[in-house]
Amino acid sequence: MSAVGLDGTLVAVDHADGPVAVAIVTALRAARARVEVIGGRAGTASEAEATWSPVPVVDAYVHVGPWSRVGAGAPLAELADDAFAAAFDAPVRDVLWSLHAAHAHLARPGGRVVVVVPTAAMAGAPGFAATAAAAEAHRLLVKAVARQWGEDGIGLNVVAVDLAVLAPGTPDLPPVSLSPPALGSGAVGDLAALGRLVIWLVTRDASALTGATLTADGGIWMAP
């Protein structure tokens, strides 16, 4: 199959500093998309609006989230308030205010949004409970906003990736499942395949899909 061409498609990508975001940007550019890398964590609505202010109307927006900086885990009962705020509040505020600001900059109809989360959202993650909670908050925000923006012709979906791929080198990451990856361990972190999936999600071929979660972890997490 030939590579999908995204000639002229304008895609905004934020948090493009982790390996997954870098791979997505690389794949989008290889598919001849115009990629607008926007940056900075949005702690407030006004920060997000300032980030988006110079961005023109885009065909798609990819939000990877700050998962590459997840940091070391700790039991929830031992977490201090500031650690919980960093692990939960910061990423959820970031995606909330980013979507809040992005709405005015998305093509209507036809705009596409992809949000990348760790599969810990669905599986839970001992030692990383606040991160798992933040990730599931992302997923539910996407579902709810997909219901709202459907009338604008905008679709939003989630791609779920193993946390070890999003944050390589993080110590003591718990297994998502006791089952091995169905496609083999090499498929877990296949960033080229992940890039192709994101490309498909921002094309018109995926226009019937919204509010969905596609798990791209080589076949570890298979629920429901």
Binding site: G124, G127, A129, H138, L141, K143
Partner: protein, 256 residues
């Protein structure tokens, strides 16, 4: 279940001054638990405690603000001091916010949702953990989530997000605390609550619309429909159930 199913065990129920929390508190007390009505205002919590005592149950009201860690810690310390331990922690308290679109959301939407649902869950879990661990395989942590935290709702995206977050917290804690014998679960109810009643008053057609979406064609009663689910999760019969969300909505959402 016998009337003594939770005899002598101690439960804290946050947001028990009304609605689903009140119903759960009444149901737990009816099967023998000492119940701490952890309400933000004694004006709402004390009448519930008094009503339980009038029925022969054991209940006290402790003013608790779940958005403040020290307040939750004080409520836990109070419960342990009065009753000698804590086996069951139920976090139900939630401050409802207006319907919103995500592009119109602001801090008045975010803060109450995050602070009551997620930070409240964190504070309850952190404060209760040493006592739940001491209770061994009787230790129970229950969060009140929502079907909106499973399937998303078009009217309140931030609510969906925080209710989903509670479910992931429960799964993670179920794995963290499983070796201690503690179970951690969520209940996702659709039941009569002050917030729902307010919405019904504002929209006279809403009650019938909500009920019509359920297989059972009705909205749940906090004490008689949701309370027994909490009693089951809190009791010995659910000792092998953990990390789950029990959707208790009359058959509106059937996702799996």
């Amino acid at each position: 279940m016998t009337a003594a199913a939770l005899d002598g065990r101690t439960a804290i129920v946050t947001g028990a001054g009304q609605g689903v929390g009140e119903g759960i508190a009444r149901a737990l007390a009816a099967v023998g638990a000492h119940v701490v009505i952890a309400a933000r205002r004694a004006a709402t919590g004390e009448p519930v405690a008094a009503a339980i005592r009038a029925r022969g149950g054991s209940a006290v009201c402790v003013e608790t603000d779940v958005t403040l860690g020290p307040s939750v810690e004080a409520a836990v310390a109070d419960a342990v001091s009065r009753f000698g331990g804590l086996e069951i922690m139920v976090h139900n308290a939630y401050t409802p916010t207006r319907a919103h679109r995500v592009e119109d959301a602001d801090e008045t939407i975010w803060a109450p949702n995050a602070r009551t649902a997620v930070w409240g869950s964190f504070f309850c879990a952190r404060a209760a953990y040493p006592h739940l661990r001491a209770a061994g395989d009787r230790g129970r942590l229950i969060f009140l989530s929502s079907p909106a935290g499973v399937e998303g709702t078009a009217t309140r995206p931030v609510y969906s997000a925080v209710k989903g977050a509670q479910r992931a917290l429960a799964k993670s804690l179920a794995k963290e605390w499983g070796p201690d014998g503690i179970t951690v679960n969520c209940i996702a109810p659709v039941a009569e609550s002050p917030a729902l009643r307010t919405a019904f008053e504002a929209d006279p057609d809403l009650r019938a619309a909500v009920a019509s979406r359920t297989a059972l064609r009705r909205i749940g009663d906090p004490e008689h429909d949701i309370g027994p689910v909490a009693v089951w999760l809190a009791g010995d019969g659910a000792s092998f159930v953990t990390g789950q969300t029990i959707v208790c909505d009359g058959g509106s959402f059937m996702g799996l």
